[in-house]
Amino acid sequence: MTLNTTPLQVENLAVARGGLAVLEGVSFSLSRGAALVLRGPNGCGKTTLLRTIAGLQPALSGHIGLEPDAMAYAGHSDGVKPALTVTENLRFWADIFGTSTIETALTQFNLVALKDRPAGTLSAGQKRRLGLARLLVTGRPMWILDEPTVSLDAASTAMFAEAVRAHLQGGGMALVATHIDLGLAEAQVLDLTPFRAKAPALDDFDEAFL
C-alpha cells in the first residue's frame, strides 16, 4: 500500500439500472482522510453508482480505480440477523473480515447496553446503529455508505457523524449518498444531477420490436 496513489479514482463512469443508463460521465477521486457526499433527487442513480463502485454490478463504460481489499459497503438494508444477538452479529462480521475487536464498535455506537439482546428485538434505529457499527469492525479504510442515516434520530446522526470524522482522521475515507446534512463540514459535495444520462434517441425505437 503506497500513500502516493489515489485510493479511489473514478473516470468517465456510466452506470445502468435495469438495463437503462442512469448516469454518465461521472468522474471524481477520493484521497486519504477525505469524504465525498453524493447528492441528487430520488432515482438519479446514487445507489446504482455506489453498487457499481462496490463491485456488485458492472459499469456500462468508464474506469474505476479502487485499491483491492480497501472497501466496506453498507447498503439500504443492514444485514442484521434477527435470531442472533448484537454481539454475535458483530462478531460474525469481525471474523469474516479477519479483525478481532468489536468492543470499540459497541462503545462508539452506544450498543453496549444492548449487546446481549437478540437483534430481532431492536428498534429500527438501533438496528441501523448495529448496521453502521459493522463498518468499524471491518477495519476497511474506504466506507461506501448508502443513506446511512435512515431511521436514525438526531443524537444518533450526530454519533454517526462523529464516527465518520474519527474514521477520516485515522486516514480513512467515506463515500456517502445522503439527503440530509450530516454535519460533516469538511466533506466535499458532488451533485449528480448534471451527470444524468440523456434519454436514448427514439429513432430506432421501432427496430427493437422488428
Binding site: 463491485g55 453498507a74 447498503g75 444485514g79 471474523d95
Partner: protein
Amino acid sequence: MRALLIRDLRLAVRAGGGFGLGLAFFLIVVVLIPFAVGPQSALLARIAAGVLWIGALLACLLSLDRLFALDWDDGSLDLLATAPLPMEAIVSIKALAHWLTTALPLVVIAPVLAVLLNLPAAGYWPLVLSLLLGTPALSVIGTFGAALTVGLKRGGLLMSLLVLPLYVPTLIFGAEAARRGAEGMAYGTPLIFLAGITCGTIALLPFASAAVLRVNLR
C-alpha cells in the same frame, strides 16, 4: 469461512431457523406410505428403499428456498458479496451448512424409519451408505437452484421445478444401490456411479452457483 458456517448452523437451530422441518416431513411421508399401500409386508419391503430415497430427496428440497432468500431479504448477501470471501466459498459453505442441518439428520434417521417399511436386514447398510454418498449432491445441486431463483417472489416453486430434474441421476443410482442391497445383490456399481455424480457436482456446481448469484445481485 468457518465463521459463516458457524453462523448458518446457529441460525438453523435458533427459533424460526427451520431445523427439524425436513426431518418431520421425512417422518410423516414414511409413516403415511404404509397407510396408503396397505399392510402387506412383502410389498412394503420391496418398495422400502425407493420410498426412503424419495422421502429424503423431497425433505432436502423443503429447506432449500431459504438458503439464500433470507440473506437476500435482509441485505447480508450484498454485504457478503463485498466481503473478502470469494463467492465460490460462500456457496460451498452454504451447501455444506444445508447438508449438515438437513441432509445429515435424514441419513441418521433413515434406518429407524426403514423399520416401519419392513426393509430387509441386508438393506440397512447399503441404504445408509447410498444416502451418505448421495445427499451431498442433493445439497450442492439444490444450492445451484436456490442461487438461480434468489430474489424472485415465490421462487421456491420455480426452484423445485428446476432442481427436481437435476436430482434424477442421483435418485436413480442411490435408490438402485439401496434396492440391490435390500435384495441381497451386489451394490458396488451403482454406489460408484453415485459417488462419481456427487464428486462431479461438488467440483463443478459451486462455480456455476457463484456465477448466477453474481448475476442475480446486479
